[in-house]
Amino acid sequence: MPAHWTEETALKGRGHRSLGRRWRRVSTRSVIGRGPSRDGTGAVIGRWDPAAAARNPRKVSASCMGRRRRRVDRGAAVGALPEAIAALSRTLPAGPSPEIFRRAKFDRPEAAPALWQLLFRVLSPLSANGASAPPAQGEPPSTEAQVRVVKSELHSQGYPRRALAQLPEDGSQGSRELLLALAWLLARGPLLERLLAQTRVRLGDEIPLCECEALASPGPPVPRVEADGPVDIRHLQWLMGKLRFQWRKLITSQQEQCALLGKIHSYTRGCHSDRSLGHLSVAETELLRDAEGGRQLLRRLESENVCLEAALHWRRQELVFWRWMDTVLGTCPPEASQPTFVPRIPEKGAGEWELVARELQALQEELRGAAEPRRAAWEARVGGWGPEWSAVQRASREAVGLELAALQRAWERGGAAAQPHGPCRLVKSDAGASGGPGLRAAQVIEVLRSREACLEAVLCQLQRQCRQELARLAGALPGLIWILPPGR
């Protein structure tokens, strides 16, 4: 037990101020310190958690006992805290040492770089693509870029503390704020689960069923290039054409991948020890061919195991961490409360929905009340314009009707069949063997087809608008001949 941790726990006893915010957490395991602490002295323990108590009777007895026993428990916590933090570090990608966390509590600048980097790795949208390789390929981004990504990503997730946004961009300061942000992320959602799922070793041939996750994370901000002067339209057309060719290349290589996968699956039929799979995946076939690859895979599996064990350890011990985080929160200046922007739809009770629905209804009525007299006045004014006007009116009403119908169809389609998510293992089975678990390719194709139809309808509509706009422009310049570009 290092001496400084003892000193650390001693510091905790100095009481803490009332906190503006508390760790909100869905999990019952760590409901510690939800309300403002009632006693000004023993802030370490916070509230008693019956659920945790049920799981860990030894601790319950400790916390239920008198002052003497509590001291003993504190002694145990002294050992548990660095252990819990170490477990957390082992679970995180490039997690720093517990010492860094301790220094961060005192806002020591030397702890800042490691924490900026940790948060960058945790938040980096690149890592969301499910690649097992670390996201930092090629040159790692500069510290400034990392700091910017961390700030903007936290902001977009609704992180409320302004102190973080005001930190200097050189990444030299703010270790305590970063520690708070990390704890916020941990408390907020399934961060560890997501990270572990990303770095999972994949043995099967997987296929993503939808791109919603990729679409949800827009990727790193693209540096804007300001044009020096007016941009030649031909340059844009050139770039557009290039993009089209790249699309076609991508499609071709995907088709090739499918063809080769099909070959491997049919050549290795009956080779798999798991009867329900029946054939080998690419990774498994590669193992048979290449012994060195096998050793590498073993190493990767071992390190994944270490991570998972650490995660389990952390789960058992995180209580201690949250108590300690309470004291961290206590040491930092409270911020004036400001409205927190949370982008997710909060899971609120039915009562609140009703409230919102009523409000919406009221607004709609108000709108109707305001619009109808205006419409009546307008119609009275243009009433004398004759059949031309009514034709225009009819046409626009029809257009609106069509659009509405299309929207409704799209909505129903999207709502009816719950779209499958996440990666799935590709398994080729006999045509006759129907039923069984898993998704059929035909089902997935159907979902994709309907999605394609929706997108195509939108595209057609946009193209129609463009054509109308072009026709309008062409009409405005009578001396000009418009020649549509050939092909494509």
Binding site: D232, R234, Q237, G241, R248, T252, L260, P486, G487
Partner: protein
């Protein structure tokens, strides 16, 4: 990734044979000047691209042969079989008893629809033999009946059936003094239709290749075989394998795709030309040595002065000083001295290829104002020598090189059209005056676009 070649008409079939023969001989050439291992990878890469294997080990060209007369196809098949090194597939050709009589409309509107299903079935069978289809290489003449009319029809069908696959049409520009009276009509119809359905038009001018045979190869009695061999050599020097990137020893998987991405992304600029250096008879080759600096200096001057071969380069032509308005680009009537490029791709093959300095091709003055050299210039390399040449360079260029011939052909065709000469030969088979007018409009637009770079 594989390329399926479609050989159409007399010209397309004769050239197709020479192309496959050149590809095969080069990849089995003992003088590859590289390690055995590297040579094997090169061979495998070439084979995957252009040949499929039959049981007895003889490679089969990934090709479909189409003609409306049996003579040329039979000759082509037997020539390939006689070589004993490679052959065409047993069921990969389609022919009929009666040609198109140099009438584009007959090939396009009669032969095309009548034999559409059989031809497309043949192509589909060939496509199914590929693990991965990169695209089609369609070899045809521009000014005839079957090759050009049917070729335009087939290309359009390929566009409908395989819209994601790439389509490159290799077209043969007729002699300026051709003997077919309606060659200009046929040419504008071919070009305008291909401009709508193809991704790139790789143009070879008969006149230019003829001159290469006479001046560089020292051939006295020039036959079509000689011309086609030069042409096949040029195509081989572009499409044989090259390293996928600088410092890598992997071969490029999808050269057709990358070539198009580099050279023809813009839908109005699809005309490509090839120049290569050195090009000489085998006898002279034995007594010649080359340096990369010398070859590239010549190649660059060939590009900017728009000469098709090493001999007779106009060394007076200089790129316009950057920053000043470029006079030569403004008007067609003024003689075009300087050939402005949109994009260039240089392919280098042979010894010490890594030492070659390509700075001369990265001069912004060579290119249009709207495309920087970094976007407009690319280079492919391999250390493996090509076809007995210790060092060789090829240049595929999207530039103004065809502006004058195109303008001439459109002008001649327009003059005939204005006097309604021979139009009834076309309207008889469903090509109306309106179709001609559409073709003129499109090509005038192409001429204008290339003119105002």
């Amino acid at each position: 990734m594989s390329i399926v070649t479609v050989q159409l008409g007399q010209c397309g079939n004769q050239i197709g044979f020479e192309v496959f023969d050149a590809l095969y001989s080069d990849s089995h050439c003992p003088q590859g000047l590289c390690s055995k291992r590297e040579n094997e990878v090169y061979q495998a890469s070439c084979k995957e691209r252009f040949f499929s294997e039959e049981e007895n080990g003889v490679p089969i060209a990934r090709a479909v042969l189409v003609d409306m007369e049996p003579k040329v196809i039979n000759q082509t098949l037997s020539k390939a079989a006689q070589s004993g090194r490679w052959k065409y597939g047993q069921h990969s050709c389609f022919c009929q008893k009666q040609g198109s009589g140099n009438n584009w409309a007959y090939g396009y509107s009669v032969h095309g629809p009548r034999h559409e299903e059989s031809i497309m079935n043949l192509i589909q069978k060939e496509v199914e033999k590929c693990d991965c289809l990169s695209g089609f290489f369609i070899i045809m003449s521009m000014a005839g009946g079957t090759g050009s009319g049917l070729g335009a029809f087939v290309t359009q069908n390929l566009q409908d059936h395989y819209s994601n696959s790439l389509k490159m049409n290799q077209i043969i520009w007729p002699y300026g003094t051709g003997e077919v009276i309606v060659q200009n009509y046929n040419s504008i119809l071919t070009l305008s239709h291909l401009y709508r359905s193809s991704d790139a038009l790789l143009v070879h001018e008969n006149d230019a290749v003829h001159k290469i045979c006479a001046k560089l190869m020292n051939i006295k009695q020039i036959s079509f075989t000689d011309i086609n061999q030069v042409l096949a050599h040029q195509l081989g020097s572009v499409f044989q394998p090259t390293y996928s990137m600088e410092g890598s020893y992997h071969y490029r998987r999808n050269p057709l795709g990358e070539l198009m991405e580099n050279l023809v992304p813009h839908p109005e600029f699809k005309m490509l030309g090839i120049r290569n250096i050195p090009q000489m008879s085998e006898n002279s080759l034995a007594y010649s040595t080359f340096t990369w600096a010398g070859l590239l200096k010549h190649l660059r001057q060939m590009l900017i002065s728009n000469s098709k071969m090493e001999e007779g380069i106009d060394w007076q032509v200089r790129p316009p000083l950057s920053g000043l308005p470029t006079l030569g680009k403004v008007s067609l009537n003024r003689e075009l001295h300087f050939n402005t490029s949109i994009a260039n791709l240089v392919i280098l093959r042979g010894k010490d290829v890594h030492s070659a300095d390509l700075g001369g091709f990265k001069d912004p003055a060579l290119y249009t104002s709207w495309l920087a050299p970094v976007n407009a210039f690319n280079v492919w390399k391999t250390q493996r020598a090509f076809s007995k040449y210790e060092k060789s360079a090829a240049l595929v260029s999207n530039s103004q090189f065809l502006l004058k011939p195109l303008d001439t052909i459109v002008g001649k065709a327009w003059n005939m059209f204005a006097s309604k000469a021979y139009i009834h030969q076309y309207t008889k088979f469903g090509i109306e005056e309106e179709d001609f007018l559409d073709s003129f409009t499109l090509l005038e637009q192409v001429v204008a676009s290339y003119c105002n770079l």
